[in-house]
Amino acid sequence: MSEKEFLSQLKEHQNIIYKLVHLYANTTEDKKDMYQEIVLQAWKSFPAFRGEAKFSTWLYRLCINTILTLKRKTNRIEYTDTVAFEETYFTTAGNEEIDRLYKSIRTLPETDRAIISLHLDGYDNKEISELLGITANGVGVKIHRIKQQLAILLKDI
């Protein structure tokens, strides 16, 4: 597979990278580091990609594993009325609901953010359990709990 084909696949699925990075990056520098690290890891891991899983699933796993093992400035941002989100991340200008949802998810523990993003992107519990290495039952319980937390957070933010 050539660099050109790899890039074309990556560009087609860049939304996965974009969404996940914005759930974890705390600063602009973090964001750039994550983008670079993900693309580099994807490029180096791509020769081993056999197409047994969908490219999107492969990329999702790579993004989560890369982001969670990468150093960041701080682990979590606490939102208060006086602390503004560092920058407006989403190009869907004017859609406050998306911004509120991301802000809420970003207050969750790191692995919970991965679980809920996989769930919201349509992965079932079995797929999530395989990607993260936890039981499918555990995933179900966590998703239920995360959704309850999000409901509360979305009321507050």
């Binding site: 660099e3 890039l7 990556l10 560009k11 860049q14 939304n15 990278i17 974009y18 969404k19 990075v21 602009t28 964001k31 750039k32 580091d33 983008y35 670079q36 690290e37 693309v39 580099l40 890891q41 994807a42 180096k44 891991s45 081993a48 990609f49 492969w58 990329l59 796993r61 790579l62 594993n65 890369t66 969670l68 093992t69 990468l70 150093k71 991340y89 989403f90 190009t91 869907t92 859609n95 609901e97 998306i98 509120r100 949802l101 991301y102 523990p109 790191e110 692995t111 919970d112 991965a114 993003s117 919201l120 992107d121 395989e130 990607l131 993260l132 290495g133 936890i134 959704k147 979305l154």
Partner: protein, 200 residues
């Protein structure tokens, strides 16, 4: 708010991502992966272990005090063991495995590998440091006093000083080594442990 629908609307890209996707040669990207840093730290440790071992081997040719030679043999053996163990761990840390293993497996593998490696070193330290200190003491005392070894060793005052030196230097070296391990790998291991706990 229907979070599923809202999530699906969050499509986007930004300049930073577009810039990375336009890079013509990915090999110019400098990886900031902590795994890479850990591998680098391990490699530095291995190189030092090899240099020190070679130094000990060299000393064997110049020193003809059998007590010191025994200490040197033991140190050479343990240094080689630690270098080999570090090399095995170094080879087991795969930076480009991030797309093939589940997150928990990857984290657990790295965490357990480092803890096991450190436990072996920690236990070895308690055995090796007194030998290293005693060997160094005998050699220093012999060279400094220029007296026969037997006379030097059977001097009760010297034996007391050796005992005190061990009592002070062994814990000092042990805690120093622990501090260095924590400094080099601690933060990363804490992060791994907290992520594993989150996934439990």
């Amino acid at each position: 708010m229907d979070i599923e629908n809202v999530w699906q609307q969050g499509k986007g890209s930004d300049d930073a991502l577009n810039k990375v996707l336009q890079i013509s040669d990915f090999d110019i990207i400098h990886s900031k992966s902590p795994l890479k840093q850990l591998r680098k730290n391990l490699l530095i440790g291995i190189v030092w272990a090899v240099i020190i071992t070679i130094f000990y081997v060299g000393l064997l040719f110049f020193i003809s005090i059998w007590q010191v030679n025994i200490a040197l043999f033991i140190l050479i053996f343990f240094n080689s063991l630690i270098a080999f163990d570090s090399w095995k761990l170094y080879k087991n840390i795969h930076i480009n495995n991030l797309a093939t293993h589940s997150l928990k497996d990857e984290l657990q593998k790295n965490y357990s590998g480092f803890r096991k490696w450190w436990r072996v070193q920690e236990r070895s330290c308690l055995f090796v440091y007194p030998i290293a200190i005693t060997g160094g003491f005998i050699l220093g005392g012999y060279l400094g006093s220029e007296k026969p070894i037997a006379e030097f060793l059977y001097n009760p005052r010297m034996l007391s000083i050796l005992g005190i030196a061990n009592l002070i230097l062994v814990p000092l070296s042990y805690f120093g080594a622990r501090w260095m391990f924590k400094y080099a790998y601690g933060k990363h291991l804490e992060k791994l442990q907290s992520l594993i706990e989150e996934l439990a």
